[in-house]
């Protein structure tokens, strides 16, 4: 009985999922250095923006319509 109480009390309490922490981008105060950091981040944004994965539903509906 005591063991059961101990097991229950020691079990980790369910934790709420942590919200993603926004990590501030450190700057050096030197334009030529910080500009490259911006470019690196822009390259990711452009890559994401031009990704065609948003059109996965288009592929699905075209396949469905072919078979009506």
């Amino acid at each position: 009985m005591l063991a059961l109480v101990l097991v229950v009390s020691c079990a980790p309490a369910p934790t709420a999922p942590e919200a993603p922490v926004e990590v501030p981008t450190e700057t050096t105060g030197e334009a030529s250095v910080d500009e490259v950091a911006t470019d690196i981040s822009d390259a990711v944004d452009i890559g994401d923006a031009l990704d065609a994965s948003e059109l996965d539903d288009v592929d699905s509906i075209l396949a469905d319509i072919e078979n009506i």
Binding site: A31, I46, D64
Partner: protein, 531 residues
Amino acid sequence: MRKIATILTLAIFLISLMPFSIADHMDEDKSIEDSREDRLNRAEEQEKEKLKALEDEKEIKRKIENPEKEMPRKPEVLQKEKAKAAKITKEEILKERKFKELGKGHLEKFKELEDEELEKFSELKKEELERFADLKKERLDRLKKLKKVELEKLKHLKKQKLERVSKLDKKKLEKISELENEQIAKLAEVKEARLSKIASLNKEHIKKISGLHAEQIEKLSHLDRARLKEVSKLGKAEIKKRLDKIKIKKIDPKLKFKKRIVLKDKKIKVKEKFEQIKEKLHESGEKVKERRRLLLKAKEDGDDDAIIEHAKKGLLRAADAIIAHLEKVKNKVSESEDLTDEEADSILADLDAKISEINDAKAEVEAAATKEEIRAAAKKIKAAWKRIKVKAEQHARDVVNGKVRIILKKSEQLEKKLDRILAEMEEKGIEVEGIDGKITVFSEKVAEAREKLKQSEEKFKEVKATDANENKKSLLEEAKSLAREAHNSLKEAHDILKEITMEIKAAYKEADFEEEDEDELVEVGEEEENE
């Protein structure tokens, strides 16, 4: 009888006293003899000491004049000996004609030197002395710490070259002075920051580089640390071969690695339009989802009219989504400064053609009334989309890789900036522990990115050259993955760069990161291997 007895007793007494008297007399003689001997010994010892001092002096002079023949001695002993010898000759050195003929300012610089420091300059000719005296005090202070033989290696250098070399720190100066006169002169033709970069290599590599032609050394000196290290490991013939493929180009200071300038107003307009297109694409996507749900339900219900209606509308919304996606790519191409006008125009024309193709298909969908006609239109759009999707992805990659290429070039330029700042710090005697090593790591990360980007671009060429759509797709995935790796290496490089920047700023407040000297406006290009 009594008289006789008295006389005998007296005689015996007198005889008994004789040995004492003789002994006393002998002692007196011995003492005189001893003191004479002592004097002679002392005189002899003094003579010996004098001779020894003379011998020592000669020996010290001989050792200073021929240090290479000298056996290793304890430095402090050697220094004492040198100081002893120099002390004797300093005034004599300054009395020499060549020193007397120096201008007042020049002579003052030598007068300020310590005895043993001045002795290192004693063998130089008047014009050589003048070149050394022309140097700023802190530079001469650095050189006077060198050994006499090291210093003499620099005496042949002309004014500008001597100035460049004198800016190096002691460790680098020692490495350089181990080279032959001609080799030193060739290296000293290279500008300070680049000379310092070469001098930070190991002795073996410096020697190998100094054996190249002056033009080859100049070209090599423009390479970043990672490439310089890589090339200096090669054999002499391979170095020449590699250098033949390297081209050093001056860049347009207005463009700064960009291929064109897009005006600010245009950029703002393009950005606004991008947001509208993004919204449109999102709406079309939602509509496609909803139509698909309704279509599947109509199919389940066996409702032919509803099937035709939802299939037709679903097809039109799908075409809208495709067009919106192509517009998005067009938008990024329009604002890209990493494409030439010709490249951008060619991509835009291709995308416009694809949009027209989809619009034509849309017209067919609108005219369709039967299931068969809708099916045919769907097949046509699907086939076009399959083809267009790969092409659009290629264009998107052109934009993204162009961006990564510019980051790479800017990072290479930043390394040159760091070299310039580091050379300034070196001249001022400012040291930041481990900074040289960190810049090398930064350079290696950039080199890693350069290699990955090169591989990615090679895959793209294969994508463009292949006809089979399936092959294109897998090659495109490989190319995208390599470009991502290049991007990650640049990100890591930039994290190191931030650290370096902060450390430099803390130690050297005058560091100017915005200044751009001519070396920073140079681009290193390497021809592809044609096998």
